[in-house]
C-alpha cells in the first residue's frame, strides 16, 4: 500500500485509486502517462528520505497494477477469455473482472478497428496458405494455350538496351522542330499502321537503320513518337529485333528470325 498522492488531469488519489479508476473507466487511460505518474511517485519517495522496504514494495505493486490497468484499457479484449468459465476466482485486484473490462459493444472505434484488422490478417493467412498450395500444385499442370500467359519472356534486344533506343530517339527528335499545332491532338496517328509500315519495309529491305525509320516526307514529333512506339511494340511481339554491332554504332532493325509476320 502506498499513500503518496497522485494528481493528474482530473484525478487525485493514490496510485491504486488511479489504477482502479482506469479499470472502471472513470479515468481516461489515454490521458494518463503511466511513466510520468510513476516517476513522480518515486521522486516523492526519494524525497521523503530512506524509504522502507514495505513502502518500496507497495509502490512497485501499485505501479504494476497501474501498468496492467492501462494495458488492459488500451488493448482489445480477448474473445476466448470471455468464454473461459474458470476466469472468476483468480481475481487479484487489477487483473480480475473480465466482466468489467470486456464490457459492451460500445468499445472504442479504435479498438474494433484493431480487432477487425488482426482478425482479417489471421483469416487471410489461412486462405493464403491454401492459395500457396494451389499455386504449387497447378504450376505442374499446363493448361491448353496457357503457355504464353504470364510467363512470356520478352526477348531482350540483342546488345541494345532500352536506354540506347531512347538515346537514339532523342537524337532524332533533336533535329525536328516542335509541332506547330500541339494544342489539338491528332487522331490520324495509328501505331498499328506504323507497325505495318515498318514490317513492310523490313520485308522489302531485310534490315533498317534506326534513323531510316524516321525519314519520311513530313515527319512531326508526334509521328516520331508513334513510330518509336510501334517499334517497341514489334520488339515486344517478337516480330522485330534490334541490334547494335558496335558500341555507338548504328542501331539496326531486323525481322525476327522465325517470327511470323502474318496479319500484315
Amino acid at each position: 500500500m502506498t499513500t503518496i498522492p497522485v494528481n493528474v488531469s482530473g484525478f487525485s488519489g493514490t496510485l491504486e485509486d488511479l489504477a482502479r479508476a482506469i479499470e472502471r473507466g472513470d479515468a481516461d487511460a489515454r490521458s494518463v502517462s503511466v511513466y510520468e505518474v510513476i516517476r513522480a511517485c518515486f521522486d516523492e519517495l526519494e524525497r521523503s528520505g530512506e524509504p522502507g522496504l514495505d513502502e518500496v514494495g507497495g509502490l512497485l505493486a501499485a505501479a504494476s497494477a497501474l501498468v496492467a490497468a492501462k494495458a488492459k484499457a488500451l488493448l482489445p479484449p480477448e474473445r476466448e477469455a470471455d468464454e473461459a468459465p474458470g476466469a472468476s476466482g483468480e481475481g487479484e485486484g487489477v487483473a480480475e473482472g473480465e466482466g468489467e473490462g470486456g464490457d459492451d459493444d460500445g468499445e472504442d472505434d479504435a479498438n474494433s478497428a484493431l480487432i477487425a484488422h488482426l482478425m482479417e490478417y489471421r483469416i487471410f493467412k489461412e486462405a493464403v496458405e491454401e492459395l500457396a498450395r494451389r499455386d504449387e500444385a497447378w504450376r505442374l499442370v499446363y493448361l491448353r494455350n496457357s503457355f504464353p500467359s504470364g510467363l512470356r519472356s520478352v526477348r531482350p534486344p540483342e546488345g541494345v538496351s532500352l536506354s540506347d533506343l531512347i538515346q537514339a530517339l532523342r537524337r532524332v527528335l533533336e533535329g525536328i522542330p516542335e509541332d506547330e499545332f500541339t494544342a489539338l491532338p491528332t487522331d490520324d496517328l495509328s501505331i498499328e499502321e506504323k507497325m505495318d509500315a515498318i514490317l513492310i519495309r523490313l520485308r522489302q529491305r531485310g534490315k533498317l537503320v534506326f534513323r531510316e525509320l524516321f525519314d519520311g516526307p513530313v515527319i512531326t514529333r508526334s509521328e516520331v513518337i508513334a513510330v518509336f512506339l510501334a517499334l517497341l511494340e514489334l520488339i515486344r511481339l517478337a516480330k522485330a529485333v534490334v541490334r547494335q554491332d558496335a558500341h555507338f554504332g548504328e542501331i539496326l532493325i531486323l525481322p525476327a528470325v522465325g517470327g511470323s509476320d502474318h496479319g500484315v
Binding site: 486462405a127 504450376r139 499442370v141 499446363y142 493448361l143 494455350n145 504470364g150
Partner: protein, 197 residues
C-alpha cells in the same frame, strides 16, 4: 446428333478452345442441353483417366479446358516452353485480399497489409491475375482492383465461390465485404483439382 458424334465434337471444341469453354456454349453450338454436355465431359474425363492418357479435362474459371497432368510436368518443362514461377509471399497475400474483398483500392490493401503494395500490384497486373475494374466513388476517385479469369485458371479455381472458405465470423467483420451470396455452380467439388498421376 448421336452420342458418339456429340462426344467427339465436344472433345474437339474443348481441345481447340483457347480459354475455358462452358457447357452452355457447347450446348448452344450443338443444340443439346448443357447438362448433357456436362455428362459427356464426365464420360470423356473417365475415359482419359482409365486409359492413363497424358491429358485431362479440368474445370476452371467456369469452363472446361484441356490440361496436362502433374506427373508430366518435368518433361514439359524440358520442352523449354517456360515454367511459371511461384508467386512470392507478398504477391499471394495481396492477391488473396483482392480476391476476397474485391473491388478494393490500393489504399485499402495497404491498410490491411500495413505495407506499400504498388510493386506487388503491378506484378499481379503484369501476370494478368488482377486488373482495374472501376473507380471508387470517393475523393480522388481511386482505382478499384479485382481478379481476372486468369486468376481462376492460375489457382485452378472453378469460380470465386471456389476460393478457400474463410471462417464464418469473418463475414460479420466491419468492412469485410464478401461478395454476394454464392451462386453455386453445378460443376463444383473436386473437379478442378489437378489429378495426380
Amino acid at each position: 446428333m448421336g452420342y458418339r458424334e456429340a462426344r467427339a465434337a465436344i472433345e474437339a471444341m474443348v481441345f481447340a478452345s483457347p480459354r475455358p469453354i462452358t457447357a452452355r456454349e457447347m450446348g448452344e453450338i450443338l443444340g443439346i442441353d448443357p447438362r448433357t454436355v456436362d455428362a459427356i465431359v464426365d464420360d470423356l474425363r473417365r475415359e482419359y483417366d482409365e486409359e492413363g492418357r497424358g491429358v485431362q479435362i479440368v474445370f476452371v474459371a467456369g469452363g472446361y479446358q484441356m490440361a496436362t497432368r502433374p506427373a508430366h510436368a518435368d518433361y514439359i518443362a524440358r520442352l523449354n516452353v517456360g515454367t511459371r514461377q511461384a508467386l512470392s509471399r507478398p504477391a499471394l497475400e495481396t492477391v488473396a485480399m483482392i480476391a476476397y474483398k474485391q473491388p478494393i483500392t490500393r489504399a485499402e490493401l495497404e491498410t490491411i497489409r500495413g505495407v506499400r503494395v504498388d510493386g506487388v500490384l503491378s506484378t499481379l497486373i503484369e501476370r494478368g491475375l488482377v486488373r482495374p475494374v472501376g473507380r471508387k466513388k470517393a475523393p480522388g476517385r481511386p482505382v478499384l482492383y479485382g481478379t481476372t479469369p486468369e486468376f481462376l485458371r492460375w489457382f485452378g479455381l472453378a469460380s470465386l465461390d471456389d476460393l478457400p472458405p474463410i471462417e464464418g465470423d469473418a463475414a460479420t467483420l466491419p468492412g469485410f465485404g464478401l461478395r454476394s451470396a454464392p451462386r453455386s455452380s453445378s460443376r463444383r467439388g473436386g473437379v478442378a483439382r489437378p489429378a495426380r498421376g
